[in-house]
């Protein structure tokens, strides 16, 4: 299987040069690899997305797909997995989508540990609605709804995921496509809730490329990803503000094994649509007499 086998005939309407193309490409490469390595079945790949520029990826991937409501991509992943544990489930979300509208689902799914992958296209702005601030827009960010500048503390999604029990926490960057592809492969293979925050500058409304480019570095090969204290420390190295002196680590901050949602619910053995039931009506009402 080749990455382009996931292509559809739909017209791509992202801005020319949008880093979203890099996420699309990294995802297709990662999944083609996993299919070729027989670790994933193509017909069982199921994605979901929220609403925003990221979500257009729904039309550009030939896989099972659920184009949901704004902020609700994570419950869709949860539900797909609860309905069919055989699916390889990947959610796409934006930063506004995941960290504003859908933050409750993000926090709780870190705890549930459903075997799914969550990819957040983080451009630190609402792009499809023309450039308003999101929770990851830094203090001082000027957008059309915040002409006086954002006055609030920026949200650190990596730290948030760590303290809430996510079992795979990583950061990627759209200018590092092959690195991102590697992260996606590992995230999909990880059994549990895998989360990658992907820095994806918005060329039209929030182009922070030059800021990130000069500050990113990849976590060292000797970095031990199974240590929560270390991971938290690393997560605080950059708090998503635009501080001059910051360094931005890329890679897997944290990865551990914990029982997955499926392991916690013994009923969830196969897709429900394959379950044939022999219902005895008299059994159902017996206790009421």
């Amino acid at each position: 299987m080749k990455p382009q086998d996931f292509n559809t005939k739909e017209e791509n309407t992202w801005c020319p040069g949008c880093p979203n193309f890099a996420i699309l490409q990294a995802f297709k490469m990662a999944m083609a690899d996993l299919v070729n390595e027989k670790k994933v079945k193509a017909k069982n790949i199921a994605i979901s997305c929220g609403i925003g520029c990221h979500a257009k990826i729904y039309d550009y991937l030939d896989v099972n797909a659920f184009y949901g409501l704004h902020g609700r991509t994570i419950p869709l992943c949860f539900g797909m997995k609860a309905g069919n544990p055989d699916l390889t489930v990947v959610g796409f979300g934006g930063d506004g989508d995941t960290y504003a509208e859908g933050i409750s689902h993000f926090v709780h799914n870190c705890r549930y540990n459903v075997d799914m992958t969550m990819l957040v296209h983080n451009n630190k702005t609402f792009a499809l609605t023309t450039g308003q601030a999101t929770p990851t827009s830094e203090k001082g960010f000027v957008g059309r709804s915040t002409p006086l500048g954002v006055k609030d503390q920026v949200l650190n999604p990596i730290a948030l995921a760590l303290v809430n029990g996510a079992t795979f926490v990583a950061r990627g960057y759209t200018s590092e496509v092959s690195h991102l592809k590697g992260l996606i492969k590992k995230a999909v293979l990880h059994k549990g809730f895998s989360f990658i925050d992907i820095l994806q500058p918005c060329l039209t409304f929030n182009n922070f490329t030059s800021y990130v480019k000069d500050r990113v570095y990849k976590l060292d090969k000797n970095y031990k990803a199974d240590n929560i204290d270390l991971a938290l420390k690393k997560s605080l190295e950059w708090n998503y503000s635009m501080e001059e002196k910051a360094k931005i680590p890329l890679g897997i901050f944290y990865q551990i094994k914990k029982p997955t949602f499926q392991e916690k619910w013994p009923q969830l053995k196969k897709p429900w649509y394959k379950v044939e039931r022999k219902i005895k009506n008299s059994e159902l009402i017996k206790e009421f007499k």
């Binding site: 559809t8 739909e10 017909k43 069982n44 199921a46 979901s48 609403i51 257009k56 729904y58 039309d59 030939d62 896989v63 099972n64 797909a65 659920f66 184009y67 949901g68 409501l69 609700r72 994570i74 419950p75 869709l76 992943c77 949860f78 539900g79 797909m80 609860a82 309905g83 069919n84 055989d86 699916l87 409750s104 689902h105 926090v107 709780h108 619910w265 013994p266 009923q267 969830l268 897709p271 429900w272 649509y273 379950v275 039931r277 219902i279 009506n281 159902l284 009402i285 009421f288 007499k289």
Partner: protein, 545 residues
């Protein structure tokens, strides 16, 4: 032969358990029982009470005058003594004060037994059983069946002591075969299980929670998944995704939760995903009077979700209907790929109904999926009927579901012409839904009078029980609100002299719907919006005044 017993006490005193047991006991002897539960929103203290109406004839509601008040505190007596019948009496511990108190020396019995206060309930159960002439063996068999756990032996002992203290005054002998005794909530659960429920997702909200409890407790036995997640928005979105994969999925909530779910109900409409939504109404607006009943969310349920899409609304009127209407909801949702809302309320949900049989409908519980979808399969195929054959992920073709307007494959479109075609396709489904609902008894008419009482949902019981004194009236129960059985309702109204709507609301919402659908304006309404359900007397009094 009919008796009404009120059992009251502070929350946490087990009045509900006691009342349910006494009800079940009479049912096992072959009597009909209706059990009404009244409780405030608190865990300890306050005042809870249950009203048990016991009869040798079928009864569907409770009454407001009592033969016996079983009081576990003084408040019960103070609040309800005005409704004690002339020949009635109060049963309670020696510390209570009442004119017609039969007092039991509870303190010394409990201390002899070294038993906690709550065992008083069992002494009283024994006492009542003897008083009403129930045979001791029947009592003990039933008690051993119901009471389990560490305190079982103590409970049985206390019941026996209580039995020994009373004198037999009534003669409730075994009378025919035992009756079923079931709450509306359990009945919704039974209906879901009979439909082949795979996944139930909910967030706790009174008075829908008993269904969550019922199903959660049985999930391993019935091999389904019962989940509580972070909020109602997660509930409905996860449920729709589970339905997307082919699971038979249901959610349950009350009005506030339905408000949070509304956006996703619209998603179910456009994505054509089957989903069954159980709405247990309570007194609103907002938090309202959360443990009390109302029928004031009818128009909200009918209109829940933005945009135009097809939705089915069905309203069961008692426990039996809660089983069969839930089955119909699953069937219609799966077959026509639409959201179905079962509109219940606190009164049906938390009352216990008795009957000589409990019917489970033979309606199909198939999944209505395409057997072997081909490669060129189109999930949203434009068809004459509007219904597109449904496949699910994993069957072969890549499946799509989307909140956007879409083409036949499910890809996003914004094109004017294609948009119209897809909207028309979805709306076309309504014809077959209407045809199908016509075969499901969308209305029922009881009695033969020339005047008409119209009602829906939980008012059924009180209206039915009032008909014996309202010979000039018959009762039209509307069970399907969407699609609305327009012609049938119109026919009944037009052949009636006087038409009165009975509803637990302050405006009479069904009248608005009837006006919208038929053009007929119903001016006379009997309304109740204090959170309490109608009793037959409430209706009779209003009509006869």
């Amino acid at each position: 032969m009919e008796k009404t017993i009120l059992i009251g006490g502070k929350a946490g005193r087990g009045t509900a358990v006691t009342s349910h047991f006494v009800g079940k006991l009479f049912c096992s002897l072959g009597y009909y029982v209706f059990n009404y539960r009244d409780y405030p929103s608190l865990i300890r203290g306050g005042h809870n009470f249950n009203v048990l109406r016991i009869s040798d004839k079928p009864v569907f509601s409770h009454k407001n005058k009592y033969d016996v008040i079983l009081a576990f505190d003084q408040k019960t007596i103070d609040l309800h003594k005005k409704d004690l019948k002339k020949q009635g009496f109060v049963l309670g511990a020696e510390s209570l004060k009442a004119k017609k108190l039969i007092s039991i020396n509870v303190k010394s019995i409990l201390s002899k037994l070294d038993a906690p206060q709550i065992i008083e309930n069992d002494i009283m159960i024994g006492w009542l059983a003897k008083y009403f002439g129930i045979d001791k063996k029947t009592l003990l068999v039933e008690a051993k069946k119901v009471f389990k756990g560490k305190k079982k032996a103590l409970i049985i002992k206390a019941i026996e002591i209580g039995y020994g203290l009373a004198e037999k005054k009534e003669n409730f002998k075994k009378k025919g075969s035992g009756k079923y005794f079931i709450s509306g909530s359990s009945a919704i659960g039974v209906g879901a299980l009979a439909s082949g429920l795979d996944v139930y997702i909910a967030y706790p909200m009174t008075p829908a929670t008993p269904v969550l409890h019922f199903l959660a407790g049985k999930q391993l036995k019935h091999n389904n998944l019962v989940l509580q997640v972070e909020n109602e928005i997660a509930v409905i979105n996860a449920a729709l995704a589970s339905s997307f994969t082919g699971a038979k999925t249901m959610v349950g909530t009350s009005g506030g939760g339905l408000a949070l779910m509304s956006e996703a109900i619209s998603l179910a409409g456009v994505a054509e995903l089957p989903i069954v939504i159980y709405l247990a109404q309570r007194t609103g607006p907002a938090t309202g009077v959360p443990t009390y009943t109302a029928q004031s969310d009818l128009k909200f349920a009918v209109n829940a979700g933005h945009g135009e899409f097809t939705k089915i609304i069905v309203a069961p009127g008692d426990a039996q209907e809660s089983i069969t209407r839930t089955q119909e909801a699953f069937y219609l949702a799966a077959k026509h790929q639409v959201p179905v809302i079962i509109v219940g309320d606190k009164h049906v949900a938390e009352s216990d109904y008795s009957s000589s049989e409990l019917k489970i409908s033979s309606i199909s519980n198939k999944r209505f999926l395409v057997e072997n979808p081909t490669k060129d399969y189109k999930r949203y195929k434009i068809t004459k009927s509007g219904l597109s054959p449904r496949a699910v992920p994993g069957q072969g073709p890549k499946l799509r579901a989307t909140s956007y307007e879409h083409d036949e494959y499910g890809y996003t479109i914004e094109d004017a012409g294609k948009t119209v075609k897809m909207v028309d396709k979805r709306i076309r489904k309504e014809k077959n839904i209407e045809k199908e609902v016509k075969t499901l008894k969308p209305i029922s008419v009881y009695g033969k009078g020339k005047n008409l009482l119209i009602g829906w949902g939980s008012t059924k019981g009180a209206i039915l029980d009032s008909l014996s004194e309202l010979k000039d009236y018959r009762f039209l129960q509307v069970s399907y609100i969407s699609p609305f059985p327009k012609k049938a309702v119109e026919r009944e109204i037009k052949k009636s002299k006087k038409v009165i709507l009975v509803e637990n609301s302050s405006t009479g919402l069904l009248a608005d719907i009837i006006a919208e659908k038929t053009g007929i304006i119903i001016k006379e309404k009997i309304l109740k919006y204090d959170g309490r359900p109608f009793s037959p007397e409430d209706i009779i009094k209003k009509i006869k005044k």
